[in-house]
Amino acid sequence: MSPMALAALQTQLKNFVQSMFDKGVLDSQFGQIQALQDSSNPNFVDEVITLFCSDAERIITELNRYLGYQNVDLSKLDSYVHQLKGSSSSIGAHRLKLACVNLRQASDDRNKEGCARALNLITSEYCLLRSKFQTLIQLERSIIALETNQQ
C-alpha cells in the first residue's frame, strides 16, 4: 500500500471540502469540527455528519408533512425551524442555515405560500448537502482504511 495513495486521498478530501467552503455550502464551523477529530476520535466528523443528517431529515419530513395540511398554524413550525437552524449552524451548513432563516421570516409574515417556497429551498439545500456529505464520508472512510492498513 503506497503512502502516495493515502496522500492523494487526503488531498482529494481537502480539495472537496474547500470547494464546499467556496460555494458557501459549508462555513468555518465545519473546519472547527474537523479540528476536533484526532487519533483518539478518528470517526468524529463521520459521527457528527450522521447525527446531523438523521436529525435534519426528521425535521424536514415533519415540516413538509405539516405544511401539507389545510389549516396550519404557522407558529407551530417555529420550534422545528429553530432546531434545524441550530443544527445547521453547529455543523457549519451555511446555506441550509440561511434557508431556515428564510422560512422563519415567511412564517413570521404568516405567508403560507412563502413558507412553502422556503421549505422547498430548505429541502433542496439539504439534498445537495447530504449528497456532498456522502462523498465526504466515503473519502474519510477510505482514508481511515488506508491508514489502518499501513499501521
Partner: protein, 218 residues
C-alpha cells in the same frame, strides 16, 4: 501553625525523619489527589448534535463530562428533584451509604453549562433553580444560546451566570471556563462550602490541621 491557611497546602518542615516521612506521604497523597482530580462538567442541551459537540470540546480540554438533554434531568442528576423536601433529604451526601449503586449525588459537579432554549425548563429556569439551592448555588453556571439577544444575556449574567456563550461554541469559549472551575476548586478547600464525602476526608482543613498538630507534638 494554628493560622494555617487551608487552601494552600504548604509543606511544613519537620526535624524528625519518621514524622517527616509520615507527613510527606500525607502531603503527596493530598497533592496527588488534587492533581488527578478531573473537573466534572455537567452539560445540558436538548440538541443531540450540540451535546456531542460540547462533550467533545470539554473532553478535549480534559474535563470529565456528563451530558443530559433537559433541565429536569440535570436537576435529577444533581439530586435536586424539583422539590424542597427532596433537597432537604439529598443535601447531605455524607449520609449516603458508600456502596450505594450509582447514586449520582456522590459525583461532584464543578460547573454546569446549559443551552438557553430548551422545551420545558429553559436554561434560565435551570440557572435560577441552581442559584436558589443551598447545596448547589456555588456551582458556576454558563449559558449557551444561538440567539444574540442582549436583554437575555444581561438577565442571565445578572442572575448568576458566569458566562454567556453564543453558539456554535468554540474551543476558545471552553478555555474561558478554567478560571471559574479553579475558583470553585479553591472554595472547596475552605470549610462548609461543599460537603462531599470523599473530598471531605482528604481536604477538610480540620483533618489536615489535626495531622500536623499530632506531628508537632512529636
Amino acid at each position: 501553625m494554628s493560622s494555617f491557611p487551608p487552601s494552600l497546602l504548604p509543606f511544613p518542615r519537620f526535624p524528625s525523619s519518621s514524622s517527616f516521612l509520615g507527613v510527606e506521604i500525607t502531603s503527596l497523597t493530598i497533592m496527588g489527589v488534587a492533581s488527578e482530580y478531573q473537573f466534572h462538567v455537567l452539560a445540558v442541551d436538548d440538541s443531540l448534535i450540540d451535546r456531542k459537540l460540547i462533550e467533545r470540546l470539554l473532553k478535549t480540554s480534559s474535563y470529565h463530562v456528563t451530558a443530559v438533554d433537559s433541565g429536569s434531568k440535570a436537576l435529577e442528576f444533581l439530586g435536586l428533584n424539583n422539590s424542597d423536601e427532596d433537597e432537604q433529604r439529598n443535601s447531605n451526601p455524607v449520609s449516603v451509604a458508600p456502596d450505594d449503586d450509582q447514586h449520582h449525588q456522590q459525583v461532584a459537579v464543578n460547573l454546569i453549562i446549559t443551552d438557553y432554549c430548551m422545551p420545558g425548563m429553559t436554561g434560565y429556569d435551570l440557572l435560577r433553580k441552581i442559584k436558589e439551592s443551598s447545596s448547589f448555588k456555588d456551582i458556576p453556571v454558563v449559558i449557551m444560546s444561538s440567539e444574540n439577544i442582549p436583554s437575555r444575556i444581561n438577565r442571565c449574567l445578572e442572575d448568576g451566570a458566569e458566562e454567556f456563550f453564543l453558539k456554535p461554541v468554540q474551543l476558545s469559549d471552553v478555555n474561558k471556563l478554567r478560571p471559574h472551575l479553579m475558583k470553585g476548586r479553591s472554595k472547596e478547600m475552605q470549610p462548609n462550602v461543599n460537603k462531599r464525602k470523599g473530598m471531605e476526608e482528604i481536604h477538610s482543613p480540620d483533618r489536615t490541621r489535626t495531622r500536623y498538630n499530632e506531628l508537632e507534638v512529636v
